[in-house]
Symmetry: C2
């Protein structure tokens, strides 16, 4: 493959800067729709978000743009823009249009659903995760047409944008299985990850999987007096604490029997590549708003967040929460746990290992219920795949010839389902950076990088036919 | 001392049954005042409750009835009814007019502050703890006068009814120290405990002390994404859980260094006396609404709840509490702990032991704040004191000659402060039973026992001059 000609680079850039303002207006409009998939009161907003996106994709030029219902869940959006070259490869872009919960009182400086641009950044829930990274593809494909003089893309372009990613994608695999013929592709491009930093462009090569559960513990039939009964019956808040504490041993390894079975351990080469990244622990800690590292002994921070499975307490609650004290043994307590999984781990196996462990660990007198929400499988891109080289080249071109390195992503997405069902390689194209604050208050996206994302997409559609032929 | 004459027993009973309805109406009126001392929004109700009680004591005949302010806290009520016998001993009755928080949605069948009588029971927050047990003294002293034909009691009768007991009595000791001359007494009668059961009258001989704290843990400066950062930085919800779990060892003994220093261990005789009580573990478990016992190894349930110190989690909270999941590492978590203390333990020593232990136990990267609310000292009545014999006889008379046994109370009250400051023996007179549900939804008092309480008080004022002379 020859480098992208300078004239194409220039045309792409000119097109994108000329359409920047209209594009940002569109994105802001979409971000105003509070498509929070885990909160039932926002169900209608998730639907509004799907309708808005389908309309926008039609307006962009996609001849096919449909809202796809899921079985009792939130709708996805599907769009298709066939190439006029019948031999063109087919590419499926994946993203999601639902967002994490957000409330002003969580620490947002402005309304999370009223986007604000300040200092070259756009602040809103979903700006980076994932609406911004979905929408840059609409600008990218138009820039691709402008730069190549084509009326259709050089690839058969498909988009699948789901509405339940933040809820664990409970209906996604079924949707993909049901529609596998229409979704068939030679490669999948997942735009729901990030890159190393504002100045170090990278391509992600893997995502962790996810298993999530809520455990409700029942002790006394009602709150009881801790003076009259304390010290003599099991306390469900204590039991919840002991369960959470028992998740890890003194080396911060997870104690659940069978949890590590099948885990793909890092090779020496992989550890070396990770160690070569310009990792600055102090800067990373600042991005984590944290004061110290803590994790599985014998692994670096990057290994811990990208290549090792974890168990985290996302929420714990039990007993009196108001001001002052209340000397009770509470009736119930709840734990919300999530487990990040790596290649070689299967969410179903983890679910049953967790269920067995919880049942075996709780004391007599504490009843429990445990519910798992939608699981996500881990995913790893085959290194050396020509499509990965194409993504790397397209990104390098957008970033003025910079060296593009490889990372992984600690977060989770349903990429593995696409890999399994469509039997296609999965590649990652994301321009979000760690400071974007995914799932946190004051989520934002860097506007310059957002446009680089569109540029990368524009170059990639030109690159891919050669790479996949 | 000779037994109380049958005629006096009959007069007391007749007086009380004749004034039953008016007494219950008064009690219901008082219970309607939501004097919740730990909730700032109820501060005015605590004051209303004090005013109501002072008015009621005046109406009962106490020549002195005053609202006593505390330094920035809730007011207490003091009343005095001197005997016309200058040689009469002085007795100080202690109780409290504040109540625990209560809300309909906690599981109350009726409004906790709208008393309801059903099947011989009066349901309301504070019915047993402690308004019912304070108010029976007004009926009791009138019955005493009726039975003895006196115009003043046979003892110099004083009442001190505080308004912050459920908040840990933060200003009580200072109040008692400031007013020690007016409070001076030959014996203190604490009416804030219970007895063994509806059919086994007992006198309590000790209460546990209490130390309470809230610990707030700070991890990341804001909630962060558990995929991006999980497994690599300390999670304050996990740290809170580990702290709560580390409170006890595998034998359910408290691990805080120095916690057991000075604890008065039970003698063989004391263990034997406790073992003689007709304890039915299944029935006790039912009263605890629990399915199993769990406590310090090597001790019986009664020993655990009466004579051993404990550590309980009253509340734990951190991270996402809403429906579904949210894959975050939370920024903060809180723990509300309480420690019951026994004779030989001092709340100040315990506070510093807990502070040291928390600071030493939390991992790097987790900041914390710890605040202790008002401490309560443990209290033990000297067995064999003649005033204890008088209480026992008065209660036996009220209960038709039944054998009165001895118990202890697992709960806490500021009795020890009265013992210390006034240098007077502390005795307990309470008729509440375990099923009354102190601090729980649907708190109630048995009306028959409430009136037996008034009878016991009536006989006690006649008994005490002989006993204390």
């Amino acid at each position: 493959m020859s480098p992208t000609p300078d004239s194409a680079v220039q045309t792409v850039r000119t097109y994108i800067s000329g359409h920047r303002d209209a594009f940002l207006d569109d994105l802001a409009q979409w971000l105003r729709i509070a498509s929070v998939s885990v909160q039932p009161e926002h169900a209608e907003h998730v639907r509004d978000s799907a309708r808005w996106l389908a309309g926008h994709l039609s307006a962009t030029g996609f001849p096919v743009a449909e809202v796809w219902e899921t079985d009792g869940g939130h709708p996805a959006v599907y769009a298709e823009w066939p190439s006029d070259d019948p031999d063109a490869p087919t590419v499926l872009v994946y993203g999601h249009h639902d967002v994490q919960p957000a409330a002003r009182e969580d620490g947002w400086h402005t309304d999370p659903f009223d986007p604000v641009t300040r200092d070259g950044r756009l602040y809103a829930r979903g700006a980076a995760d994932d609406k911004g990274q979905v929408l840059f593809h609409t600008l990218g494909v138009r820039a691709h047409l402008a730069a190549t003089g084509r009326t259709t893309p050089a690839v058969h372009l498909k988009l699948l944008v789901e509405g339940e990613e933040e809820a664990g994608s409970p209906h996604f695999r079924a949707l993909v299985e049901t529609r596998r013929d229409r979704l068939a592709a030679d490669a999948v491009i997942v735009s729901d990850t990030g890159m190393w930093s504002e100045t170090t462009p990278t391509v992600c090569t893997g995502m962790r999987g996810l298993a999530e559960c809520q455990i409700t513990l029942h002790g006394p039939g009602q709150d009881i007096h801790s003076g009259s009964f304390g010290g003599a019956v099991p306390n469900p808040a204590t039991a919840a604490a002991r369960l959470a504490a028992a998740l890890h041993d003194a080396h911060e390894r997870i104690t659940i029997p069978g949890f590590y079975d099948g885990v793909a351990e890092l090779t020496d080469d992989e550890r070396r590549l990770l160690a070569e990244l310009p990792f600055d622990e102090a800067a990373w800690l600042a991005s984590a708003h944290s004061r110290a590292t803590l994790g599985e002994h014998g692994h670096t921070t990057l290994e811990r967040i990208w290549a090792r499975p974890t168990a985290e307490v996302n929420g714990i609650a039990g007993g009196y929460q108001g001001p002052g004290g209340k000397t009770i043994i509470p009736s119930t307590a709840t734990l919300k746990l999530s487990f990040r999984l790596v290649a070689g781990q299967d969410p179903d196996t983890i679910e049953s290992a967790v269920r067995d462990w919880v049942a075996a660990t709780l004391p007599a007198g504490i009843r429990h219920e445990i519910t798992f929400s939608g699981a996500t499988r881990p995913c790893l891109t085959p290194l050396g795949h020509p499509a990965l080289t194409a993504v790397t080249r397209a990104m390098s071109t957008a970033f003025d010839g910079a060296t593009v390195r490889y990372t992984r992503e600690g977060g989770s997405g349903p990429a593995a389902d696409l890999q399994d069902v469509l039997a296609a390689p999965v590649l990652f194209l994301g321009i979000s950076v760690p400071s974007d604050g995914w799932h946190a208050p004051n989520e934002k996206i860097e506007l310059d990088l957002l446009l680089k994302g569109a540029e990368t997409a524009a170059h990639l559609w030109a690159e891919l036919p050669g790479a996949l032929r």
